[in-house]
């Protein structure tokens, strides 16, 4: 594996006295597409939220691109990160949320141009060109002037993906991007993610319950349980021939619920 772009080094995350992540070690290589699966409450979202700097950590170190995310180096020691450091680190990451979290008061195009203009300092026309390219990529060119509440869930999530991509992140985080969608709308969103995975050298970290999809697009699948990685491997191995009993149980339960 090439140098990891993401590295969790003995990361502990607690909410109160409930330990969500217990000395988690986890790496993602540059350009790698990794899927996290696991039961609800196992800490999958927490991993992504820590990376997106939405959730602090209690112990350990998280590295992004070799730099500590939640710490700064000072005289050889690691001290808690300043807001300025977090801002700099955040540039490398983009996130797609389960509930889309689009800005409801902005048109679709404005959702895509607002951050590039205000945060990256792009000119209005540059941002607009970038937005229109992305809208074409996700197949929503004709929806550019609508508001989010005028779109279907699948369309909204495609806007969510385009909005994150407009910031040109190196790592894309997807937190159950299709879980809030009606079944018939799941496919259009997965198709967009699939194209991203195959046509770009983006690093992708995806939490999903779509096992078939995970198998197609991932380089590696990690099975999470109780804040730890129980088992990980290439999809074919993990899905067809899991080593751990716990993994087998989980996959069986998921397949049964889908049937």
């Amino acid at each position: 594996m090439s140098d990891p772009i993401i590295k969790f080094d003995k990361v502990v995350k607690r909410f109160g006295n409930f330990t969500v992540l217990n000395e988690l070690d986890f790496e993602v290589g540059t350009g790698e597409k990794v899927t996290i699966i696991g039961p609800s409450g196992s800490g999958k979202s927490t991993v992504l939220r820590i990376l997106m700097t939405l959730e602090n950590i209690n112990e350990g170190v998280v590295y992004v691109g070799g730099e500590p995310l939640w710490h700064e180096r000072k005289n050889g020691a690691l001290i808690p990160a300043s807001e300025a450091h977090l801002r700099k680190m955040r540039e490398q990451l983009g996130m797609v949320f389960q509930q889309f979290n689009l800005f409801p008061h902005m048109t679709v195009r404005r959702n895509l141009t607002e951050a590039p203009v205000r945060v990256l300092g792009l000119s209005k026309s540059e941002a607009r060109n970038r937005a229109d390219e992305l809208l074409e990529m996700v197949g929503l060119t004709d929806q550019a002037d609508k508001f989010p509440n005028q779109l279907s869930g699948g369309q909204q999530q495609r806007v969510g993906i385009a909005r994150a991509l407009a910031m040109r992140p190196k790592v894309m985080l997807f937190d159950e991007p299709t879980s809030a969608l009606d079944p018939e709308l799941v496919g259009e969103v997965l198709n967009v993610i699939r194209r991203l995975a195959t046509e770009h050298d983006l690093t992708m970290l995806l939490v999903t319950h779509e096992m078939q999809f995970a198998r197609q697009v991932s380089d590696r699948v990690c099975f999470f349980d109780k804040g730890r990685i129980v088992e990980q491997g290439v999809p074919d191995q993990l899905f067809t021939n899991p080593r751990e009993e716990r993994t087998r149980e989980f996959l069986k339960a998921v397949l049964e619920s889908e049937a």
Binding site: G94, F103, H105, E114, A115, R118, K146, N149, R163, A164
Partner: protein, 223 residues
Amino acid sequence: MEWTSYLPPLLEGAWVTVQLAVYSTVLGAVFAFAAGIGKLSHNRLISGISVVYIEVFRGTSLLVQLFWLYFALPVAGQIIGIDLRLPPVVAGILALALNIGAYGAEVVRGAIQAVSRSQREAARALNFTPRQTLRWILIPQALPEMMPTFGNLAIQNLKDTALVSLISLGDLAFRAEQIRNFTQDSTTIYTIVLFMYFGMALVLTAMMKLLERSVGRWRTAGT
């Protein structure tokens, strides 16, 4: 005396009332945003000042505030050697604005806090600064929430302008009192005044509705 002969002075007073109401509502909105956002600040001094302002002006009556600004402040100024005498119109507008601002501040704060956490998280993920998040994400979504209550506050404020006649400002209530003293024709005069206030309230309500619709257009789009 013909009732129509009351109209010119009353209309003159009504015009003063309209100006008082408009200026104090606009200034009050500025105070409301400053204190409402200030109360949310992480800076202890700013949030402290905001809280004190809000509590003092909500906890005392408008009349006392008005008299304090108009009668007590100049005396206090004299003691420390500064001329703090305010013209009645300034004292009136200031008292009304500070009062509506204190109530409005709680509305502003509440509406901003009510914007869902997921919106703040989306903004953070896109690397907006806290200030940008407030300005471009939170306030635009909070505005439509504030509008109905702001509308009520503006109407309340319009009615409260009548109090400033007590510091001899020539507003509608003041003119009405003057003419009544002169003619003793209470019924006619107060009926006209009633309709005038009511008319102004109707216009104000309509304007607030328009404003409400324009800041919340995105909410009704497509439905």
